[in-house]
């Protein structure tokens, strides 16, 4: 039993959740983030949190890496590749983000063209060296690199087919180090040994680019933690939803690129399990964006690629998350033809919604929720910030004029539009995986998730919404309960018509050993759990299906079983299989992890309730409905309740529509059953 501290460094707030496994209790804190020195917010939060001296593990999720890429703050990058291919990062995949926009600017990579250096040497598609890399090339590279000595420089090396053999990349790295001994060097075959040179180059460049900011973050936070806590080591949450010792994370910074998003899904997965549901979507609605995750058969889903932005793909094993630009701060507007839109522009925190009284005058989703009585102007963030109801109403009245609607009707229209946008985003994920949303529950968190969840669920035909305790702290909670985990993916091409099973087995063994060795750098573990799988497809297809590999060494019998497993998976997903058709193996995947034991919490509800009150809430434009307003902490005394109702707590607000039913679940979970569902 241990005491674990999860921290989430977000753009606006830094959140803390201290999980005391022995007592089955949690303690929380929330402080404003300090983007110029993220460690300062961590120091402030630790000072406010009781019991930090007993902490023996710290796991931190962070958006510092993502933000550095989005804001393009980083060192000068030297990019090294095969001569003749220096422009690959600039050409990309040649497609456009907007088809008809003549003025659309194709994003520039994080490297300048003058710093792209070609070298000789070439491998073929089997990894055979067909042109040797000679020492003149390397000497030339060394000289070019030396000319940049003194600048803030990091280096990315990405050669064709390096995922099959990294030796040319290593020799290039040696030449660079001879010239720039201090510079960080990222090699594509280590960062992301997957085929498709543009995506691998983009990932390797991002890895090099964020290295300084990640190192500074780790040093700064490390000092604070060393000063304040007795914990021997501290960890970062990686994009794959597992944690790594901070020094290990620093070695491959690309692993942190979606660290901040992974925590929410891990937390959501835990609460889905607690609620007894194995299939769910997680809905994390914040101020400017909404993150959607998927829980299938009790586990979060994984992906190999994430677009930080259009034009900056990163291929790293990561928790599958879809982000859309809609949140509490999204601005509602009417186009020339009279149609209402919400977002993607956001009022952000400054000036923020009209109700913040900081000079924002445009209607946002938060303003709409406020004037409809769903948000309490005196209890936003637990009363830490007063909302200006009059300012919100006049902004919506102005919007309403354009739509010939009352302010309340306009506010309802804003909510319908944003709810529909979120439902559509979930529907598309379901479609891509051949899932029926009606069979899923919705786990809602983030400050605004529980406000909208019920309406989003209705649009998707879902019967159940689950609201975890402390919905605004779910990402920090996810960091606290994450497993230590290492994922390795490697492109390994094989064709069922001519397969060398021994070669596959050898690569698989090497991947497994590497993953276990890496895991042991983060945590002391004798027998880690190892999972392996293969990405396969029919020869000619372009999308692979992931098929689990049997444990132990791969032999011919196991390979044949794998082919059958693929056919079964294809049948399940697409409704048909093609027996006898050639099958291709594309990637091998290995995961090594130390699963944390299942935890049980008696009650995670916040204490200190207030008595029930009443206020009018609009569910339809004609009239407001008198509505019971509960504080979440006093629900424990109740047997459940019927909507309409509003449940308030410090960091979030849950809305029940007329006819919805609510009961309390394990650990204080809110189980909401939609009107009309069994």
């Amino acid at each position: 039993m241990s005491v674990v501290l999860g921290i989430d460094t977000g753009g606006t707030f830094t959140d803390f959740v201290l999980v005391d496994e022995e007592r089955g209790a949690i303690t929380t804190a929330k402080v404003p983030s300090t983007p110029s020195d993220p460690a300062a917010a961590i120091a402030a939060g630790l000072a406010r949190l009781d019991g930090v001296e007993r902490v023996d593990r710290v796991v931190i999720g962070t958006t510092v890496a993502t933000n550095a890429v989005l804001e393009r703050r980083g060192p000068t990058i030297i990019y090294v590749t095969n001569r003749g291919f220096e422009d690959v990062p600039f050409i990309g995949r040649m497609d456009k983000a907007r088809i008809y926009d003549l003025h659309w600017q194709k994003p520039k990579p994080l490297v300048r063209r003058r710093h792209c250096f070609g070298i000789g040497g070439r491998l073929d598609s089997h990894g055979r060296e067909i042109v040797a890399l000679d020492s003149n090339d390397l000497e030339d590279l060394r000289r070019k690199a030396a000319a940049l000595a003194g600048d803030d420089v990091a280096v990315a090396v990405c050669c064709l087919f390096a995922y099959l053999d990294g030796r040319h990349e290593q020799r290039a790295a040696e030449a660079i180090r001879a010239a720039l001994p201090e510079a960080h060097v990222s090699l594509s075959h280590e960062v992301s040994p997957l085929w498709r040179e543009y995506e691998r180059a983009s990932t390797t460049i991002a890895d090099a680019f964020i290295k300084p900011v990640v190192s500074r973050y780790i040093q700064g936070v490390g000092r604070i933690i060393g000063d304040r806590l007795a914990a021997k080591q501290w960890n970062l949450l990686a994009s794959n939803g597992g944690y790594l010792r901070a020094e290990q994370a620093e070695r491959r910074p690309a692993q942190l690129l979606i660290s901040g998003l992974a925590g929410g899904v891990i937390g959501g997965r835990y609460y889905a399990e607690l609620a007894g549901t194995r299939r769910a979507f997680t809905l994390d609605i914040g101020g400017t964006s909404t993150d959607i995750g998927l829980i299938l058969e009790g586990g979060q889903q994984y992906a190999t690629e994430f677009d930080i932005d259009f034009g900056i793909p990163v291929t790293i094993p990561c928790v599958a998350v879809r982000t859309i630009g809609a949140g509490g701060g999204s601005i509602a507007w009417v186009d020339k033809g009279g149609l209402l839109h919400v977002g993607p522009q956001s009022a952000g925190a400054e000036p923020g919604p009209a109700a913040y009284g900081r000079g924002g005058s445009e209607s946002t989703v938060t303003d709409a929720n406020l004037i409809l009585g769903r948000l309490n102007p005196d209890f936003f963030l637990g009363g830490a910030m007063a909302l200006d109801l009059a300012a919100a109403r006049s902004s919506l009245a102005r919007l309403g004029e354009k739509l010939s609607l009352t302010a309340e009707a306009a506010a309802l229209a804003v909510l319908r539009t944003v709810d529909e946008n979120m439902a559509n985003a979930i529907r598309l994920i379901a479609v891509e995986r051949g899932l029926d949303t009606r069979e899923f529950a919705l786990i809602a968190f983030g400050g605004a998730g529980p406000l909208h969840a019920r309406a989003v669920a209705e649009r998707l035909g879902m019967a159940t919404v689950i609201v975890p305790p402390h919905p605004g702290l779910c990402s920090a909670f996810g960091a606290a309960i994450a497993d230590a985990r290492v994922d390795r993916v490697q492109t390994f091409f094989a064709d069922s018509t001519d397969v060398d099973v021994g070669a596959i087995a050898k690569t698989l063994k090497r991947l497994r050993e590497g993953a276990v060795a890496d895991l042991r750098l983060s945590i002391d573990v004798a027998n880690p759990e190892i999972r392996s799988s293969a990405d396969m497809r029919y020869s000619g297809q372009n999308y692979e299906l992931e098929v689990p590999l049997p444990e132990g060494d791969l032999d011919v019998a196991a390979w044949e079983k794998l082919i059958d497993g693929f056919a079964a998976a294809h049948e399940r997903q697409y409704g048909f299989a093609l027996p006898g058709e050639p099958v291709e193996l594309i990637n091998l995947r290995v995961t090594a992890l130390k699963p944390e034991p299942a935890r049980d919490f008696a009650d995670l509800s916040p204490g200190g309730g207030r008595p029930m009150t009443r206020r009018p809430v609009w569910f339809e434009a004609a009239a407001a409905t008198p509505c019971a307003i509960h504080h979440r902490a006093e629900l424990a005394a109740k047997d459940g309740l019927m909507g309409p109702a509003v449940i308030e707590e410090t960091d979030s607000t849950t809305v029940l529509h007329p006819g919805d039913r609510l009961r309390l679940g394990k650990a204080g979970l809110l189980h909401l059953t939609l009107e009309g569902s069994a």
């Binding site: 003749g84 690959v88 050409i91 040649m94 085929w195 498709r196 539009t417 598309l428 035909g461 000619g540």
Partner: protein
């Protein structure tokens, strides 16, 4: 199973309700597209995304679409309406699926296949689901069905007027046998047609489900209102453009059979919230396959109007968006080919130039919204043979990006797909896995961006070395002799080139020199051998505005970044840069 929300929801067809309905319909089209992408066999679908999916009403009017390929929007607007008119509504029975690729009856070119499925409520026809896509191989004189020297449609592939693939839910086996017997890679055609059929079935199911959720009559009525809304909205945007008549013309270098240039001409008339594009005076149809069908000329006009009037795509895309546009395209001309004229390259290589031509006309009305000419060629390469390592037959349709034109606001993008499509390139590592060609280089071509106050984007260059005993090559390139023009004093973009270096020689030759083909860039079935090298460049974008108006600091940056040579900086921009990089 007790399903929440199974009870009908009320949908008010007010401004908000219409938007909700539009999202739901567009979502169905998107879902159809995903099914098609994930299950198809050909890279042209699953990597190139050369297809679109749609829902249409009972009269064949587009309700909602997922548009990956703007070039198909003309066919989307007309094919089903014309089929309904020709054969009557009673032709469509429950469980039928109709296929159609006839260029003279509303399709883009022979490879493009439109599939249509009627959707019924009981006995009553309520609408259609549709899918249109480029099948990779449909027979004809050249593997890949892209014959750049075809002189009639019969050399281009198998032509299908509207006929039934499925009748009453059952395979029309007789037709399938004909199709599969005439395609070189029937297994791919089987897989790709089924990917399209899967999309149609999903579209049908989801539309009926939407009707259960909101009441089908409300959905049908709402779709009609949405079409009227989009028409009003686009007309309002067009009304903001200065009324008048704006003419432009352009020469195209050759047609693949004849080697003389031919002209296209347009007069754009903006008045009363409508746009007429009158192509009268364009060249009579040419012998080679550079002719457009009527619907391709129409797609070019829709494309240009959207670029000018709704670049962000805010107006719901449905039949209403096409109504304010009127094409006049004389039959028997290069913009409206008559039977039996060939048309495969009209879609890929005349269409982008028609878009640029239309934009040049619009530039006289709204210069601030326009870009100079893009490279304007898809740079089509087709090759096939037996792979020496696997012993299996392969064939591939390959294309590359080009430079986009400089605009009133910014430089053109480098290495971008043509205006009429949004396909992606094939990674070198994927390409070399599948085909016996080694890529020796892939990059941007320096100085190929047309000089201008806003520079044109750079075209790309690529070199392949053949590693199989032999490969059969066909090509359809353009802009090799006549460069993409600049606008408002901007200079032309760089020309394309397609050259060969035979094994054991060091000389680059054009294909007419090396193989005696008529056009150096448009030919069919040339055999290359191991060690031969193919070198090619795609065109750059035209410049926008006088290059002397470009800030010298930007010219210096372009030289430092290698986009522009020092010579060109001196010659085109009047900026001298010394060895230290300083300018005078």
């Amino acid at each position: 199973m007790n399903v929440a929300g199974a009870a009908k929801q009320h949908l008010d067809l007010d401004a908000v309700g219409l938007h909700v309905l539009h999202n739901a319909l567009a979502n169905i089209a998107a879902e159809m597209a995903i099914v098609m992408m994930k299950t198809s066999y050909s890279t042209i679908f699953n990597e190139g995304l050369d297809f679109s999916t749609m829902l249409l009403d009972r009269e064949g009017n587009l309700i909602a679409e997922k548009n990956f390929a703007p070039s198909m929007m003309g066919a989307v607007n007309y094919t089903l309406r014309w089929t309904l008119e020709e054969l009557g509504e009673s032709f469509f029975k429950p469980g039928d699926i109709v296929v159609h690729n006839d260029p003279y009856r509303g399709n883009c070119h022979i490879p493009e296949h439109m599939l249509m499925k009627p959707i019924f409520r009981g006995e009553e026809l309520i609408g259609f689901s549709g899918a249109i896509g480029h099948l990779a191989e449909v027979g004809g004189k050249a593997p890949g069905s892209f014959a750049a020297d075809a002189t009639d449609v019969y050399q281009e592939g198998l032509r299908l007027p509207p006929v039934k693939l499925f009748e009453g839910g059952r395979y029309n086996e007789q037709l399938w046998r004909v199709i599969l017997a005439n395609h070189r890679t029937p297994r791919n055609s089987w897989g790709d047609l089924h990917a399209m059929i899967g999309a149609l079935n999903i579209g049908e199911r989801r539309l009926l489900e939407l009707g259960e959720r909101y009441d089908l009559d409300t959905v049908i009525k709402g779709a009609r209102s949405l079409i009227a809304y989009s028409e009003r909205r686009l007309a309002a945007e067009i009304s903001e453009l200065p009324e008048g008549s704006y003419a432009a013309s352009m020469m195209v270098e050759d047609d693949g059979v004849g080697i003389e240039p031919f002209g296209v001409k347009v007069k754009v008339v903006i008045r009363g919230g409508r746009v007429i594009a009158d192509f009268t005076g364009s060249s009579p149809q040419v012998r080679g396959p550079m002719n457009c069908t009527f619907v391709v000329a129409a797609a070019a006009l829709y494309n240009a109007i959207f670029c000018v009037a709704d670049p962000q795509g805010l107006i719901p895309r449905n039949a209403g968006c096409y109504r304010p546009a009127q094409v006049i395209a004389p039959p028997g001309s290069v913009v409206n080919v008559k039977h039996p004229g060939p048309s495969v390259g009209g879609n890929t290589d005349l269409q982008p130039k028609l878009i640029d031509l239309l934009l040049a006309a619009f530039s006289q009305a709204v210069p601030e919204r326009i870009a100079a000419s893009s490279g304007g060629s898809s740079s089509n390469l087709l090759f096939g043979g037996v792979h020496p390592e696997t012993g299996r037959y392969y064939s591939n349709y390959h294309f590359d990006g080009m430079g986009a034109g400089g605009t009133a606001l910014k430089d053109g993008n480098d290495g971008e797909v043509t205006r009429h499509s949004n396909c992606r390139n094939t990674p070198v590592e994927v390409f070399e896995h599948r085909y016996p060609l080694l890529t020796l280089g892939y990059g941007l071509t320096r100085d190929s961006g047309g000089a201008g106050q806003h520079r044109g984007g750079l075209g790309t260059e690529r070199t392949f070395r053949i590693t199989a005993p032999e490969i059969t090559f066909s090509a359809l390139f353009d802009r090799c002799k006549l460069a993409p023009p600049g606008l408002f004093g901007g200079l032309p973009g760089g020309r394309s080139a397609l050259l060969v270096k035979r094994a054991g020689t060091s000389e680059l030759q054009s294909f007419d020199q090396a193989f005696g083909v008529r056009s150096p860039t448009k030919f069919t079935n040339v055999v290359l051998h191991e060690g031969d090298e193919l070198h090619y460049r795609t065109p750059g974008g035209g410049g926008f505005g006088d290059p002397l108006q470009r800030a010298p600091a930007l010219v210096r940056e372009d030289v430092a970044e290698g986009y522009v040579s020092r010579n060109a900086a001196q010659r085109d921009y009047g900026v001298t840069i010394d060895d230290a990089g300083a300018s005078k």
